[in-house]
Structures are given as C-alpha cells and as structure tokens.
Symmetry: C2
Subunit: 381 residues, 2 copies
C-alpha cells in the first residue's frame, strides 16, 4: 500500500473492538504517535498535538527520527513549544494512512485493505482514539491540548467527550462545525477522486491508482489552503521558461500552475485516496452543535448549538488563533470558538493574525505563530 510512515513512529493498540460513532467497530486498531521531552512525575506537563488531515505524527525531529518534522520550527528545545519544559505527544489521526488504522489498513476479517468497508469515520472517533493514548501514557491531565485545522475540530470533540481532560487549549485555524463553503470544496475534491476510473469504488492498487483524481483533489486543496494575497507576491504573472512549459494544448504556462502541479505530484502517491475520502467527509459531518439539542433549537442553520456545546470544556484557559486570509476555516469560526469557550467560564482569547498565507499559515508563518503559541504556553502556571 501507499503508506509513508516515518521511522521511529510508535504505536498504541486501541481497545478491541473499538466502536465507531456511526456504527461498526474496529478490531486490532492502533494509533501512531511520537513524543518529545519527558513527562514530569506528576504527569502534569503534557501537551497533546492533534493534526490536520495530511500530517503524520512526526511533528519534529526526535530521538527516534532525526529528520525535520512538519512543525519543526514550533517544537523542540527552546522553541515555542519548548520540549525542555513540556512532554509533547503528537498523534496521527485515526483513519489516516500514516501509521494509525485507516481504510488502507488490512481488514482483519479479510486480510485485504478495508477500502470502503472501513466503518464510517467521524471526527469524534479520532478524539476518542487520542484520549486512549493520553491515558495510556500516564498523563493525569493535559497541560495543554493543541489542535490545528481538522485537529482543531478533533480537539473540540475531545473536550466535549472528556471535559477537563486539559487545563488549557490552543485551537489553530479550527472550527466547531463545518460550513457549506468548506463542505462544497471538500465534496468537489472527493468527486474528483470518485470520477477517476482508477479509483474503482476504492479498490485500486499501485498499478491502477487514481492518480489524476488525487492530483485534482490536492490542487484544489492547495488553492484553498493558501490565499490570493500570498500568491500575488510569490508568483505574480511569471511564466515558465520555454523548456519547462508544457507542449500539451492548454498545458502549464504560469509559475503558479507549475507550483500546484509539483505540490500535487508529491502528494498523490504519499497519501491513500480512501483515507483522504474518509477523513475529508468526517470534517463535513462535524458539528459540535449536534450535542446540545434539544435546548439550542435548530442548530442546522446557526451557530448556537456549537457555541453552547463549547461551554462544557472544563478548560481554564484557551487561545483560538485564526488568519484573516483563511477561506477554508474562516476567521469567524475561531472567534466563535473563543466566544463559546468563554461563555463556559474559560479564560479564552481570540487572536486574529494578519498572515497572508491563508489556512496553512500555521505551517509557514512562524514569525507570527511562534510568539503567539510561546506566549500562551509561557503564561500557563
């Protein structure tokens, strides 16, 4: 299978069977994770990082794997998330193909990859899986729960399931519920994969692989992860040299097209298409407001339900960071998170950042995100 699991990944076996929110159960499922730093004797210096859709558990270099991780600038000795002080755990999301059990994992019943026989995956399933890792590591209560993007959703689900599991929380470019614009984009990404004949209802292999569908999906992802503002400065209208331009009719001509193509090509064979489909849909389904009916009324059409559900987090302190240029998880959604947490008695701050990089800013704009996260963590008792 098309799995790219970093060396040094550790695994935690989930209770078997592991029941799934929407029905079905997993047998012999596991969660991949990595750690940095040392847990204090009291078990009170732990930080859990929950990731976006595509990252693995290798957020930064560590003893098990000296390669830089996807959040290398944020995590390590003396860095904003200072591993001299904190014991940090990063969990690969349930349903991913980066070590945790997902649709590309063998179905113990058949020995073949689950593919579309994987049970319907919810954000909440990932939250429960992550909680098992926290408990197993002897963490009494998380000093801080950090969630980025999809991980921001997972973090809020976890706080609902286990109020008080964390003293503090940093929610980065997350959301308490999926909104129709983002649903539309993810739906179109999934459609691109479904339309690729090689997807074959989820039964592909390395020789017959939905490469063009994944390429389309990833390009649309990259477009919506970034922003017009950033790309104006970065690419402008620069064209490819004639030796790099495409001879195909309507082929690549501008630098920005080549950038997207290169990004997509790198991703296509490094992420399992079915895993992408299941995780993508789990985000569409996520609405913390599902938990506070009936007293919140019709929360299909407004934010009240989600706001009310945020109230029982058990958090003491929280920081919700968003970015002005984010079109996928727009700023109002992080403001809503801070507002909901605050209504529940948490000392919650909303921090809008003027990063030009859109939704992905937390992966690149360390000048802004570094001090924001460092300042918050330094302020924890």
């Amino acid at each position: 299978m098309t799995e790219f699991i970093p060396p040094g990944t550790r695994y935690f076996d989930l209770p078997s069977p592991f029941p799934m929110k929407r029905g079905g159960e997993l047998h012999g499922a596991r969660v991949a994770y990595e750690t940095w730093g040392t847990l204090s004797a009291d078990g009170d210096n732990a930080i859990l990082i929950l990731t976006g859709l595509s990252p693995d558990a290798h957020a930064a270099s560590n003893d098990g794997n000296p390669e830089p991780g996807w959040w290398e600038a944020m995590l390590g000795p003396g860095k904003p998330i200072d591993t001299d002080r904190w014991f940090v755990v990063c969990v690969n999301a349930l349903g991913s193909c980066k070590g945790s059990t997902g649709p590309a994992s063998p179905d113990p019943g058949t020995g073949r990859p689950y593919a579309l026989d994987f049970p319907a995956l919810s954000i909440e399933d990932g939250a429960r899986a992550a909680a098992h890792v926290v408990d197993a590591l002897g963490i009494r209560r998380l000093a801080c729960l950090v969630g980025n993007s999809m991980g921001g959703m997972t973090a809020l689900a976890l706080l609902w399931q286990r109020p008080g599991i964390a003293r503090a929380h940093v929610n980065i470019s997350g959301a308490a519920r999926a909104l129709p614009f983002s649903i539309a984009i993810r739906s179109l990404q999934r459609e691109a994969i479904r339309l690729d004949p090689e997807w074959n209802g989820g039964r592909y292999d390395d020789a017959h692989y939905p490469e063009s569908g994944m390429r389309m999906a990833r390009k649309l992802g990259v477009i919506t992860y970034r922003s017009a503002l950033e790309w104006d400065g970065r690419f402008g209208r620069v064209r490819l040299d004639s030796d790099r331009a495409d001879d195909e009719p309507f082929g690549l001509e501008f630098e920005v097209e080549s950038y997207l193509e290169a990004h997509a090509r790198r991703f296509v064979r490094r992420f399992d298409p079915n895993s992408y489909m299941f995780m993508s849909r789990s985000m569409d389904w996520f609405d913390l407001g599902d938990y506070c009916s009936p007293h919140c009324g019709d929360h299909d059409t407004d934010a009240h339900g989600a706001l009310a559900a945020l109230g029982r987090s058990g958090l003491e302190k929280a920081l919700a960071i968003g970015v002005h240029t984010d079109i996928l998880f727009p700023l109002q959604q992080q403001e809503e998170i801070a507002e909901g947490l605050r209504a529940g008695g948490c000392d919650a701050t909303f921090l809008p950042l003027p990063s030009p990089q859109g939704h992905d800013a937390f992966l690149v704009d360390f000048e802004r995100f570094g001090p924001a996260v460092r300042g918050f963590l330094d302020g924890l008792g």
Copy 2:
C-alpha cells in the same frame, strides 16, 4: 453542436479575414448582439455592455425576445440602465458559443467545428470585435461602456485600443490583469475538462461529451463565484431529505452539494467545452501591463504596468465597482482600476460594496448594484 442561442439574436459580420492578436485569423466570423432603446440622432446615447464568460447577448427582454435576460433587473424602461434614455447594445463575446464565432463554429476550411484549431483567443480580440459592432451601429462615441467580470477586462482592452471610444465607463468586478489565484482556479477547471477522456483533445460530440469534466469545472466555478458568507446563511448544514440523498458511496448529502450539482447539470450541455477552455485561458493571459513596457519595468510581478496602461483611456468619468466577498476578482483589482484611470485624468470612483454574494453579486444583488449604476448613469451629462 451544443449551442444555445437565444431567439432574436442579431449578427454582425466581422471583416474577413479578422486577424487574431496571437496569430492566425478568422474567416467569415461574426458577433452576436442585441439592442434595447433607440439611438439618438447624434449617436451619443449609446451604452455597450460586455459580459462575463458564460452569458449570451440577451441581457434583458426586448422586442426580438420577450424572455427575461440575465440582467433583466438592471436593464429596461425605468430600470437602472434606463432604455427610455439609452440605446443599449450587448455583445456576445468572441469565442463564445452563444452566437459569436468560437471553437464550436464551423471552420470554413473544413466545415467541421474549429475545436482546438480555433486560433488562440485573447481578451483583446473580443475587444476589437466589439468595436466593429459599435462602429457599424453608427455610434459616434459611447456614452458609457459597461463591463462585468471578464467583460471588465474586455472593456479595459477596448479603452486601450481605442482611447476615447467612450465618455464614461462602469467596470464591475473586473480586473486589469489576471492574478495567480484566479489563474490557478481557471487552470484547474480546464484540467478537469482535459482529464475527461470524452474531451478527446477537443473532438467530442453530443454522444461522446466531456460531461463530468464540465460538471467539475462548473462546480468549481460556482464555488468561486460565490462566498462562504452567503452560503452560511443560505444552506448552513442542512441535509438532503433521504429521498433526495445519494446512495452512492460518498454521494450527495448536504443541500449545498445538491445546489452545486443542479447548477452544474444545467450548465454542462449549454456551454461548449472548447469555448469554455479558450475563453478561460484568454482571461489568464490578460494583462493590460503588457502595453506599457518598457517604461514600467518588470510588470510581471507588480501592478505598475497595468496602472500606467489605464492612463490613456480617454474617459471623462468612470466607476469601478467591486465586492468585499469576491475571491476571484478581489476588491483590490477594482481599486487598482479606479486608481489607474484617475492617474490618467479621468474622474474615477472606486465603489466597494458589502454584498455577501461574492464575484456574482452583480447578477443577484440588485439592491446594491441597481442604485450604484443608476446613480452613475444619471450623473452623465
């Protein structure tokens, strides 16, 4: 062919051959147009409307066709563009499949549709074609040139080619040059069509038609024509009734997905895929800054070239309208248009509107666009 030409469409035969900006020429080409109102004896009360990518020339009902047009609320007796006062011409863009000559038209050399043998289409070609119609109708000088979206680009090209052709100009959600974010989106739309095996290098027919590619392209279009803000209020997280939901794995589930699907299905067979490809690319290529080198320096990477080129419009008065929620032709681009025109001595106003409907607001938000356009036209001498 898959042409949908409204009844009552009139045609103007372009000079033959009609040379194209990037090489090649058209033989026996024509431009479709419609008119409203009566040209004054002095030929000084004419308004020319240049459209976006998909509309035909039927902007509103008229004697030739009583069906409502795509800008019915804006155009007619007593309406913001008051046909009791103005003689209004709307031209179908060159390269379209709605009456003007385009890739779906028969190539006189072979009798078959041009398809990819159509000469490379530029925004500037459409501008020159429209100018021929203006001249042929006996319009001495346009009282006002109105351009929407792609038509806003075409209008700026026309003003460069024929400074002074219009006394006034309304540019709606237009741009003086394409920027990389929009190029990326259009490139992905074209890729969706190219990836459809039925596109077949542009040689399809009604029986073998790139339906899924067009559907993807149109969905991405609709997503980027609208805005997250509008869709939150309109669709929220409402789900389809079980009898409308899709049984396919990963099929339609939310209202917003169904809305996109219905929109796309309506469009797919009503617009020629090759025409879509050519017009889409013509927008990517458009950069008014191409005309002011060398004195503007490297205008691949900044706006100076386009700004300078706007200076020779010969306009007396202009209004550049944009919308805060437009991600495809962002507000800064209309501000840039006003700024460039002003630098050339034109009394140009930039009007940002708080419409929630994104790029397409001018097609729906008549409460805001109506008074804005009416006020400007009323103020013309």
